[in-house]
């Protein structure tokens, strides 16, 4: 039995509830969530919290020294720090297209790190 306090972020109410996870595989118990969207969110979050990573990468462009990037989908929260360290070692050469994949399938998450802006020079 693992107890986790999870704040629901679905609406401004921000229900502060608890998810009790049955490690043997049984159904989780939820306390303190007002609506079903909240319960759904809390269960996923307790099981495996995922986050979209947004960051920057250094470029060789004089005009635009940083390229904004994001993960193409949410990745496990505990991978964020490692990801930014990998990105810190990159240096991108222009031109870069918006949406260009810079790191495919980062840390086997299934998410690509893609550019969110275009750099011409």
């Amino acid at each position: 039995m693992r107890k986790q306090d999870i704040i629901c972020i679905q609406c401004p109410l921000g229900c502060r509830g608890t998810v009790i996870v049955d490690e043997t595989g049984g159904k989780a118990t939820l306390e303190g969530y007002e609506c079903k969207e909240g319960k759904k969110y809390a269960e996923i979050e307790a099981h495996e919290p995922l986050r979209v990573l947004t960051a920057t990468v250094i470029t060789e462009s004089k005009r635009r020294p940083l390229l904004p990037v994001k993960s193409s989908k949410a990745i496990p929260k505990d991978k964020l720090s490692e990801c930014v360290r990998v990105l810190a070692g990159l240096k991108v050469k222009p031109p870069v297209a918006a949406g260009q994949v810079l790191v495919p399938d980062i840390f086997n998450t299934g998410a690509n790190i893609v550019s969110t802006a275009e750099i011409v020079e």
Binding site: L66, R85, A88
Partner: protein, 509 residues
């Protein structure tokens, strides 16, 4: 850097006084060196004064005499032959022609002193009497309540009477005046060494060796114009003659520039009849920025005691509102604390003399008002040096004129276009709040600005309501580019105040 320079005169301190003396000396064929511990010329008291240039015979001087009478009753008040009054009157005469030659902006101060209570009314009458003994009574106008409010409807309704004067005071932005002296002195051959704090002074037979952070200088004469640090510097040379400096401080506030046009109709300065230990005034400085100078003469325990205090914010605003209610705390853009210094031998006067032990070491320890006397003190000092054996041969190449950095915000559209045609950087406005262009910033760097503060005091960029929110990144970029240094080395006010400490990702490696 262990270079040994040789000089005829070494001036310690490149503030208002040191800069003025340097310029005066540059008229002669001499090797003159100025050493300054900070990276720029306005970092001490030069940047935190009121910016009033007033005569020894003026209503403003009368104010300080009224205070003196309260604090030391019975003392003879007005001594027209005292050095302070003489130099004050002379300095005021010298100021205007000098400001014109140095292209320093100034405007006549149209000053109103008001009384709001019986006690203040008594003080106001006393002020009026003093102006008689000063011989300036005809230049001062007594106004009753109705007249004051008609002239300036936004003055507090508590006002009972006022004294108005517009002949014997000017308003400047002091860093501009000091910097103008520096630039002109430089052009006429004076060397300025910034970042060169004096570490030791050794007296030789007919000269001194002054050790600084940038090397040592051997000089026949030394002039101590070190402002707040004049006593420590004199001590280093064994030239202190028993006096030292005490300091007090007052917090001041800068208000939103739009109030510069809204608070007053025609005057640009209002003060209350002073009480001991307290100053109350609101002033619109020459470039239109309103300052609230309201607060006590608070003790300053050391020479760097310039931190602001919560209770002084409130005091500034409340007391300012008792002069002119038409502003609120929300109009305050920034606050800072200015230090004053007084010598312990005679707090009422300057010390301008050679030291007893070293007849070639001259202490130029000036008390407020220090801006008006800068020019006359400079002349006085040069005369003293001449009498002491400094050979004053005129420099035939001397050029007394200096042109200021153009002030885009104060030009007409046609003048602006002429500037932009000359240099397109004058069309790129970098500081939105004060309308300062890249051209002015680049020129400031050419003339010696090395820090963000250096830009600020030469161009007013960053002094406005957003306090470098918009222009900060651009000023840093321009400094990095013009000084050819990485932006992580650009400082706010010298070593240790780098603004952007790390490059991206540096902390992750």
């Amino acid at each position: 850097m262990k270079t040994r320079l040789e000089s005829d005169v070494l001036i310690i301190g490149a503030g208002m006084i040191g800069a003025s003396i340097a310029r005066e000396l540059s008229q002669y064929k001499l090797q003159v060196t100025v050493v300054e511990k900070s990276l720029d010329t306005f970092t001490g008291q030069t940047k935190s004064g009121h910016g009033f240039v007033y005569s020894g015979r003026s209503l403003n001087m009368a104010l300080s005499l009224v205070l003196k009478s309260i604090m030391s009753p019975g003392v003879h008040l007005f001594e027209p032959d005292s050095i302070k009054i003489r130099l004050g009157a002379e300095g005021y005469e010298l100021f205007e022609p000098l400001a014109k030659r140095l292209d320093v902006p100034y405007q006549p101060a149209k000053a109103l002193i008001i009384a709001r209570s019986d006690e203040e009314l008594r003080g106001l009458k006393q002020l009026y009497e003093i102006t008689d003994s000063m011989g300036i009574k005809e230049d001062v106008r007594w106004m009753d309540r109705k007249d004051v409010l008609e002239m300036e409807p936004k003055i507090t309704k508590e006002v009972r009477a006022g004294l108005y004067e517009d002949k014997w005071m000017k308003s400047i932005f002091p860093p501009e005046y000091a910097l103008a002296n520096v630039e002109n002195a430089k052009e006429n051959g004076v060397s300025f060494l910034y970042g060169a704090e004096v570490k030791g002074i050794t007296a030789l037979n007919e000269a001194f060796v002054v050790e600084t952070e940038k090397g040592s200088i051997k000089s026949r004469f030394v002039v101590n114009a070190a402002g707040l640090y004049a006593d420590s510097v004199a001590e280093m040379a064994g030239a202190r003659d028993g006096w030292s400096l005490t300091h007090n401080r007052t917090q001041m506030s800068l208000l939103d520039k739009r109030l510069g046009k809204e608070l007053f109709r025609s005057i640009n300065s209002v003060q209350a009849v002073p009480r001991p230990g307290f100053f109350e005034g609101i002033q619109i400085q020459v470039h239109g920025n309103p300052y609230v100078h309201c607060g006590g003469y608070n003790p300053a325990l050391h020479k760097e005691a310039t931190e602001t205090r919560r209770e002084w914010f409130k005091e500034n605003v409340e007391c300012g509102q008792r002069l002119v209610p038409a502003f609120s705390g929300r109009d305050v853009i920034t606050s800072f604390v200015g230090l004053r210094s007084f010598n312990t031998r005679d707090p009422d006067d300057h010390i301008i003399e050679f030291s007893k032990r070293h007849p070639q070491f001259l202490n130029a320890v000036i008390r407020l008002p220090g801006f008006a006397v800068a020019a006359s003190v400079a002349r006085y000092v040069v005369n003293l040096l001449g009498n002491q054996g400094l050979h004053l041969e005129e420099n035939s190449d001397y050029n007394p004129h200096r042109k200021a950095i153009p002030i885009f915000s104060e030009l007409s559209d046609d003048e602006r276009n002429a500037l932009i045609r000359r240099d397109p950087k004058y069309g790129h406005v970098v500081c939105r709040c004060e309308t300062v262009t890249e051209g002015e910033i680049a020129e400031a760097i050419k003339r010696g600005a090395r820090t963000v503060q250096g830009i600020q005091f030469r161009t007013r960029a960053g002094m406005g309501r957003c306090q470098k929110g918009f222009c900060g990144p651009r000023i840093i970029e321009i400094l990095g580019r013009e000084l050819n240094i990485p932006r992580t080395e650009v400082t706010f006010k010298g070593l240790g105040s780098e603004i952007l400490k790390y490059k991206s990702k540096e902390l992750l490696s």
